[in-house]
């Protein structure tokens, strides 16, 4: 037990996490590519027409993965933030900062593809229903987090302020998820959830899950990459960063 604890803390230090992340990134890129190509082939080339929405339903293959990731990344970000507040570890703030831009882009993609889907099917780009509004609030939370961190010069204080904001915003995640259950919304319910069998044809479901996996792997890869940059920046002047910089030159 004691041994394992020590190991965890070892990887929680930027200087040992940096090379580990560097080794992992190519794998996540490869997985994202493989899952993405398989998902696109299944979803865009093989999957049949939908009985209600014709070919227009194919937007689901990015809309749902982007929406899932926008919520999931926020949860991970808040988790790191909480860890940082509780244990004051250096890595936590860096990870939260690295995740935020990807989360914001996912939230934007969710809203963008949703608008392009809503116009032909519902008859409107936008409606102030609970699901759409709470997802817009999520985008603002990400932007607020990024802006708040950028506005404070001292990284440790920036982390603390950002962490508080991230934790406050967590209440929004269940609101997004359950909004279609709790209130009358224009947005339909979930096709895939933990509590019931999916209401999608199996081929469509597989395409969507593969795309979701691809988005997941992509997010990890790009967030780890960004985290490595943040580590170099924040730990500049330390011995390990000096060594890393020397190796960069040798390449």
């Amino acid at each position: 037990m004691n041994n394992r604890l020590i190991n965890w803390f070892k990887y929680a230090s930027p200087q040992s996490f940096y090379p580990l992340a560097g080794k992992m990134i190519p794998w996540f890129v490869a997985l994202a590519t493989v899952f993405g190509l398989a998902g696109l082939w299944l979803g865009m080339v093989v999957a049949p027409t939908d009985f209600q929405q014709g070919e227009g339903y194919r937007i689901i293959f990015i809309h749902v993965p982007a929406s899932w990731m926008s919520m999931f990344i926020y949860l991970v970000m808040a988790f790191w933030a909480a860890l940082g507040l509780a244990y004051n570890t250096r890595l936590s703030g860096m990870m939260a900062q690295a995740l935020a831009p990807t989360g914001a882009l996912m939230a934007f993609l969710s809203l963008w593809t949703g608008a392009l889907w809503g116009k032909p099917m519902w008859g409107t780009w936008w409606v102030w229903d609970a699901r759409l509004t709470s997802e817009l609030i999520l985008l603002f939370l990400y932007i607020g987090f990024i802006a708040l961190q950028a506005s404070i010069d001292d990284p440790r204080r920036a982390d603390k302020a950002g962490a508080v904001l991230a934790l406050v915003g967590v209440v929004n995640i269940p609101i997004i998820y359950f909004s279609v259950k709790w209130w009358n919304t224009l947005h339909q319910g979930s096709s895939v959830s933990l509590t019931k069998s999916p209401s999608m044809a199996i081929l469509m479901l597989w395409a969507m899950l593969l795309m979701a996996l691809s988005f997941w792997m992509y997010s990890i890869a790009v967030a780890l990459y960004r985290a490595r940059t943040i580590m170099l920046e924040r730990e500049r002047g330390t011995e390990w960063v000096r060594e890393v910089l020397q190796q960069e030159g040798a390449k």
Binding site: M44, V45, V46, A47, P48, T49, G54, E55, G56, R58, I59, I62, H63, A66, P101, T102, L105, F108, L109, W112, T113, L116, W117, K119, P120, Y218, A221, V222, Y225, R226, R228, T229, L232, E233, R236, V241, R242, L245, E248, G249
Partner: protein, 62 residues
């Protein structure tokens, strides 16, 4: 697992929803292309800056 489309034109038209479907996929592709490029550029800029600073410090010491 047969191909759903009869022609490439049909694939592009997406049953009349082409604008909406490709508008969604296009922006997503653009973002997933640009985000890594910006991340790589930021890192390169940082490494160059840190190296310049390290050199400047070494020169000062000598």
């Amino acid at each position: 697992m047969s191909i759903h489309w009869n022609s490439f034109g049909e694939f592009l038209a997406m049953g009349g929803y082409g604008l909406y479907v490709w508008g969604s996929f296009g922006i997503t592709a653009a973002i997933m292309f640009m985000e890594p490029i910006i991340a790589v550029r930021n890192r390169k800029n940082l490494v160059a800056r840190l190296k310049r600073q390290a050199r400047a410090e070494r020169n000062k010491e000598q």
